[in-house]
Symmetry: D3
Subunit: 340 residues, 6 copies
Amino acid sequence: MGAVSTFGEILLRLSTESSKLFAQSERLELHYGGSEANVAVSLAKMGVNARMISKLPDNELTEHALATFKQHGVDTRFVYKGSGRFGLYFLEQGSALRGSKVIYDRAESSFAKLDPKEFNWSEALGGSEWLHISGISPAVSQNAADVCLEVIKIARSFNMTISMDLNYRKNLWRYGKKPADIMPGLVRYVDVLLGDPATANLMLGTKVPVKEYYGSADDLKESYDALKHDYSNLKYMGMTLREVKSANHNIVGGAIYHDGKMYGAKPVEVTPIIERIGGGDAFMAGMIYGLINKKDLDYTVNFATMASVLKMTVAGDFSLFTKEDIESYMGGKNLGKIQR
Amino acid sequence: MGAVSTFGEILLRLSTESSKLFAQSERLELHYGGSEANVAVSLAKMGVNARMISKLPDNELTEHALATFKQHGVDTRFVYKGSGRFGLYFLEQGSALRGSKVIYDRAESSFAKLDPKEFNWSEALGGSEWLHISGISPAVSQNAADVCLEVIKIARSFNMTISMDLNYRKNLWRYGKKPADIMPGLVRYVDVLLGDPATANLMLGTKVPVKEYYGSADDLKESYDALKHDYSNLKYMGMTLREVKSANHNIVGGAIYHDGKMYGAKPVEVTPIIERIGGGDAFMAGMIYGLINKKDLDYTVNFATMASVLKMTVAGDFSLFTKEDIESYMGGKNLGKIQR
Amino acid sequence: MGAVSTFGEILLRLSTESSKLFAQSERLELHYGGSEANVAVSLAKMGVNARMISKLPDNELTEHALATFKQHGVDTRFVYKGSGRFGLYFLEQGSALRGSKVIYDRAESSFAKLDPKEFNWSEALGGSEWLHISGISPAVSQNAADVCLEVIKIARSFNMTISMDLNYRKNLWRYGKKPADIMPGLVRYVDVLLGDPATANLMLGTKVPVKEYYGSADDLKESYDALKHDYSNLKYMGMTLREVKSANHNIVGGAIYHDGKMYGAKPVEVTPIIERIGGGDAFMAGMIYGLINKKDLDYTVNFATMASVLKMTVAGDFSLFTKEDIESYMGGKNLGKIQR
Amino acid sequence: MGAVSTFGEILLRLSTESSKLFAQSERLELHYGGSEANVAVSLAKMGVNARMISKLPDNELTEHALATFKQHGVDTRFVYKGSGRFGLYFLEQGSALRGSKVIYDRAESSFAKLDPKEFNWSEALGGSEWLHISGISPAVSQNAADVCLEVIKIARSFNMTISMDLNYRKNLWRYGKKPADIMPGLVRYVDVLLGDPATANLMLGTKVPVKEYYGSADDLKESYDALKHDYSNLKYMGMTLREVKSANHNIVGGAIYHDGKMYGAKPVEVTPIIERIGGGDAFMAGMIYGLINKKDLDYTVNFATMASVLKMTVAGDFSLFTKEDIESYMGGKNLGKIQR
Amino acid sequence: MGAVSTFGEILLRLSTESSKLFAQSERLELHYGGSEANVAVSLAKMGVNARMISKLPDNELTEHALATFKQHGVDTRFVYKGSGRFGLYFLEQGSALRGSKVIYDRAESSFAKLDPKEFNWSEALGGSEWLHISGISPAVSQNAADVCLEVIKIARSFNMTISMDLNYRKNLWRYGKKPADIMPGLVRYVDVLLGDPATANLMLGTKVPVKEYYGSADDLKESYDALKHDYSNLKYMGMTLREVKSANHNIVGGAIYHDGKMYGAKPVEVTPIIERIGGGDAFMAGMIYGLINKKDLDYTVNFATMASVLKMTVAGDFSLFTKEDIESYMGGKNLGKIQR
Amino acid sequence: MGAVSTFGEILLRLSTESSKLFAQSERLELHYGGSEANVAVSLAKMGVNARMISKLPDNELTEHALATFKQHGVDTRFVYKGSGRFGLYFLEQGSALRGSKVIYDRAESSFAKLDPKEFNWSEALGGSEWLHISGISPAVSQNAADVCLEVIKIARSFNMTISMDLNYRKNLWRYGKKPADIMPGLVRYVDVLLGDPATANLMLGTKVPVKEYYGSADDLKESYDALKHDYSNLKYMGMTLREVKSANHNIVGGAIYHDGKMYGAKPVEVTPIIERIGGGDAFMAGMIYGLINKKDLDYTVNFATMASVLKMTVAGDFSLFTKEDIESYMGGKNLGKIQR
């Protein structure tokens, strides 16, 4: 099986300890992440040959970041080093009704300043059968948006499958373009899309039906049918079904759409949530895992959902669970029990 | 707008880490607090000019305490330094069904040994339009009770508004007087009172109706009407509505009484509670904030309740939230969501 | 009143911090435990003269372990020192739906290599009126199983009361014998048995009725009647009633059977669970406490259940609560309230 | 061999982490200590039957303190519980040229309020052959000074050996008496005295010769001869020889005087010092160990000095080293080497 | 006495724990600093009315930074908030022979993007008699260099005393100018200069004599005479005398030049150094303290040197010592002794 | 250039925090190490293609260990998984004159139970030009000794260079053989030997001259000449020159012997030592680095010594320094300086 390549920015995350405010913090926890990087780690832990394509500055933080990804088995040979800063964000961890807060600090990062010409794409994509990107990269800068379009076209020319997580971030998109100026041109090339209907409308300019709340996969069929109508290239669509009770308590299920049919995983209670961030990326990874391994879609949606649920029980952005770990909890087995 | 002055003892709190017992503790967390000091910090963070009047020993712990209050913007010029100990308490943090435990160690503190003559009250209260005290100070010693009466009378003579939080502490009141010997003489001067009906009866000797449980503001009207009948000087009364599910899980609402009418905030679930202490003080601060800024009472009770709810999501005694922070969660918005 | 002697292996537990995975751990928390040792500590804290009989290697970890037990008042004079390793296990702490994981590392331990001849039993048991063992010791090695039988017979000859916690551990029993080869021979001597019907069937080869779920003590009567029919020597039987909502949330009650009658404690919610391990041992200790002090069985089952519930609110394997601590929460009083 | 009883106040110490200032501290480390208690722990670890006689308040901190002492094998049966506070002190840890700072908070402690009548001395001292006290107790309050005289007289009547560490503390002695008013009356009964000549003059009103610096035991002979002349009851005298290079670097030796002769241990460099406090108490314990076990004085002074040196390599007030540990370093062996 | 205003960038410092490498770090310690800010804090702790003039982005980190400075008594009213990033740097703490490493991340900071027109200088400088700046600000960007020149000229027009710390940073000065293009124009206005001869030559283009090593103040006279010859406006010059034995061990003295005469403080050993950063700023603050309080220069150089030495014994960038703290160690008193 | 393969046991190390005793430890730090594994990590960080050949049990700790090695770039494909325990050791960190203590717990480990037949050596060694082993493996068990001989012979048949670190461990060698029974048969095949003369005599049964202390490389010539005489196959010999001042303070140099000539690195002071363990392995790695890259021996001995010195400035067993890091300190440059 060929590799899955992900392309996107690697971020340094500096987060407050457990439920502390910035105002109370004497130290910050250091994690490396980024939506696409998280997908790569999750895939590697699931046993998939996963590769990251990105750019970072040439300093000790980059060495630390790469060591972190290598530790989890990700292929980092195509993370190029050059000028610019290490993009970072500060995270204040929420608690109960108080939500988490993000302060982005990504200006002038090595990734934001990418030049479409500087990558050797046939080398970087060589041996891959899948490319994964997200809607965060084109939100960072015009350069990054241009590179996204380029990599997607090249991947298409290599007959690779292309997945995208829409991932709308309202605090980005500051360089003069709106999502709907950019995203439709990218999504035209996509085979597998992660995103809810409201985000799709916002980023693609579509007008598919939107509901307040999706209690089960079937609630999404109408919307995904409409999206499929507009973007007939989309072979698979999906999303996590998430009801936010509080920062520490979500009810989490999942849905996949294919060929006019919905496949769903029954929502389960997740409380306490140790770390919310990365839950969607773990679902994305689970979905890629199922599709690339040609699992049936019932298995795939349950696998992806349980990957997402398990992710929320550990700190950091990554789902560190193997295929066996995830399967051991599917179907409601072993939940919360001591294994001894 | 004039300053709000608070008068009361500043305490050093030494608490066990998260859910540890004293029996398991190799270190203790150090916080400074005290009901009135907590109100001052909360007010300062809300943007009110807040001042503390108190007395502490002349040592490095006092310097540390004052730096802590200055950090949050409280005016500490009238915290006098002199003889005596730094009053302190040890706190064992509860968990689930196991409640927290307090060991008071306030004997011979600088505050307990206060001499009513030693303060220059016109200087200390100068520029203030509001005085806040609580029922804890008169519980500490006869000296402290005497000074409370003096400061209240002087504040009255300056036409200041006077608020009091009844705050019954069964482990204090050890110097030979009962609450009902002292408190009625003080409450006669009070404009704004925080306290539930049972506590009012216990501390004031009144016999207003008491219910087992107050699910909404309206459940309190009869009791507050009766209290208003006995103490016609009380312009506003209020309390948090708290159902204790466990040490980590409360359901919290709020109520304000004015002019024979009740104003309420709908109870919300707070779990996990990071720190229960200071929740009432944050409500008191929110109530003062609303009244001094002439907000309507619907806003005020919701603002005070959300201040109290947010307080419980952070460690330490203080509500560190700005007006904007609190308002951003009022009306059920944004609860538990990541802001990014 | 005579002492309660417990016989079993003392383990070094190395556990991940709060909800961390092994894969995320840079340090491990060090606790000493073991089912029988936990019972001894719980009893000592309840005010019972408690003694441990065991064997450990002659090194600094053993000195540390013994200091830990002495700290809580356990008599450690009969923990013999000799050859072999310190038996240990690694514990990955679960969270939400993710269960805890145990990696046992007990091969070649001083206890597993015990020689039945090496203990001076009349000295070790002298002054005891009660012997407590568990089904874990005979699971470790043939030697350990042999010593269990020997100590039980000697205790019987001394007219001591004998209690046993069945405690099935599927990852042990590796030396060629099955539970049903060994346990019936031991349980024949037992007066007080802790265990659920399914475990009894598995370990004793009985076929008593088994239910999916025991919501109250009465649900157990039929099964315990049947067990009593097979093992008429069993004077008291009991178990905790536990519904596992998640790794952090159980609903916990308790049941005792005697003379054809059930005595029950109403299940209560325990969330968050700080540490699940040791909950059963605390119940066992509470049951021994009640029986040895000739308390009535209603008191005993409620005392044992509350001991178990409180245990789950603290880290480590031990219930560190005194009789007064436990009684202060019985009957639903004070749950989750601050005592100040 | 009979027990060694120590009489003195048990203190709760709250110290800053490593080199932090009070002004930088968010938490404090919790230790229990007190000069006489430290001697008891050191003796117990050396294998001597050691007992503490003292008084503490009846609360959870006392239970924690007693558990700590029991852990190290000290007999705590005669630590009486009653009214008053737990005496405590705050310690700011020094570093390099910056010295440590102590804030005493011992007013109104259970020990300071001792009544000479409240102890049953024949019970408390029963089975002891040695009593150890220090010059700190009579510095605390008149009551404490009175009890010191009483216990010393009773011990003398029981033919017990009496040791005293002069231990001058300039921040105590606040109740109206000077050391020279009290100490001579106590030292008249003492057999074994720890203290340097300058302290002796200050506390006893003697005028023995004082040197700036004692590089070896012999430098002390003239002073101790003179002290022996004034207090002919003193059979043994001794002190640590300490040159303070910085808070983290001392050069430490030791000296014992007996029968007109000096016995010395060669000074060694101790850097980094992990904890300076308790170094003198470890020497005292080592000296008692040697004398009670009838070791020769060359061994004794070297054993006591090495106990003191090892003490400084660990956190907390106690020397946690066994006889074998200490002996393994005597004579310059193994210093700083890995044992593997 | 008028205030001392400092102008410069406030930085967020993210440093590894004690001696950890970036490659080993799971968390970073958070401090706020910056050479001029450090001087302001040191002065405030010494009792001088100190003010910071700067610019930061409008976010929660800025609120945290300002609270930190307010805590220590610094006037933060003239720290303007606006666009741009929070300038930051990453610090890997060295140990023994391994030096510390700094990764600057100051591009596009609010300060670097300063517009000379945006400050209201008469308001910001109002009530000040002294302005302090450093050679770091003009190294950041042309804008910052321009603002430095403007503020210096305005301060001169207000007859304020002007001090500058040359502070060469080889990793800055990246915007196309060399120090010698900019610094002479600024230093022309300076009264009090901190810097060694080699740095002066490098930044000012002078050719004053340079020695390998300055063991005492007198070794500097020739160089400072020459510098005074070129810049006759310099009334006082000074520097710390530092011999670097290792990252944890320096020998530190100090020197001041005035009117052709040298004043020196004898070097002392500082080991272990808890934190090297901020040592020069503490000296600068001590020098300003002495001059503004019209102390003689022998006192001043000894005060400044001891401030610098004490700084190195605490974590973080700030000297948190009062005038009394510093004086208590001057003249070699109390070094390393416990104060109890 | 071909890979360097190391063969040896991978150990889990559980060590006390900084200077804590086992008796004081509530948690232990977790590191993975082992002499040969440490060499592999050091080489990988230096840029050499480094591979580990070993065996571990099939559990989560093994996954964690492998992730740790992958993070640093070591090839772990030939760490086989199977039955047995994870070999471990407990480390009590020494301080000042108190040495560190090791408790080995390696009985029944997967490595100790190795069967010489179970490895596919041509696969495992394929592509390697160098094999590194140490004298620890043959000390563990007869099986391990047998496998060592086998791998050495196969490596020889592949014309690989063979290096060995003698590494005597007195607490191992428990299976009935003495070093001199086994080691000569192995060393006969060795090209590059690390070890001091006394250890050589002890392990090889030679009688080469031994000195008390080696202050410079030349002091070793006579001994190494004699060893070369007995083992003419030894092309290079070497050792660190270490004077142990205390657990935290060593003076460290290095020596290499080749062709009858000595090459030395001047000893430097290393204080404080953050972690002593791994210092010799870093030297070994540096020596291999120099030889495999055909550096001259002056460079090589200085590179190896500086690698060893830098290793001691960081926690854990590994030298995490790149070639550039190490070279930047060679020749006495930059020692202890801040790089900013």
